[in-house]
Symmetry: C2
Subunit: 113 residues, 2 copies
């Protein structure tokens, strides 16, 4: 797959590696994955998300903050509530692909080295 950068021995620019790790970190806990998958379907308010995923309101806010800082979700006020949604289609695609690939490698098991 073409990307753009380099052409010889990349050494994988540390920044790129860090960026991937930082973003993928968002998908590394069940709570955030749950929130993101819910938001992939439709925009939801914090209160709705709390009911959806069954975590405390504070925990949801904290995790939404993390996702916001990573540019994965955005939230806008609507009355006294705040409605969150995925930042753009890239996030939705990333989620879909993550789910897809994980389904296809649930083989992950024994493998005596």
């Amino acid at each position: 797959m073409g990307h753009g950068i380099d052409g010889d021995t990349p050494t994988r620019s540390k920044e790129a590696v860090d960026a991937v790790a930082r973003t993928m970190h968002a998908l590394s806990t069940p709570s955030r994955v749950h929130l993101l998958l819910r938001l992939r379907d439709e925009p939801r308010t914090v209160g709705e998300l709390v009911a959806d995923v069954g975590m405390e309101q504070s925990a949801v806010s904290h995790q939404l903050r993390v996702l916001r800082h990573l540019g994965l979700v955005v939230g806008e006020r609507d009355g006294r509530q705040i409605r969150y949604r995925l930042h753009d289609d890239h996030v939705a695609q990333l989620l879909d692909e993550a789910v897809f690939h994980v389904e296809h490698l649930t083989t992950g098991r024994v493998d005596p080295v």
Copy 2:
């Protein structure tokens, strides 16, 4: 992308959510991303990887173990060394897509809620 359960309010089968989080956890640290990206180019022995990523041999072994248990890489003996490679193309694709998407959302910044 239903597989079996649900129909109305998916609740995103906790197992699927957990599986995604567990697998994405592999991409959530620079060290593992570095190792995986290196292995995406070509199979490498532990010693080569140590030289590539500049971590201690023990740390590399520990992280390779994590990746092995997740079914992302496999290793086979060759003399006294062990050569690792990505488990299959799914892993390579997942890596490519992760890098691709992360490049396209480095926008992650200010966004007053």
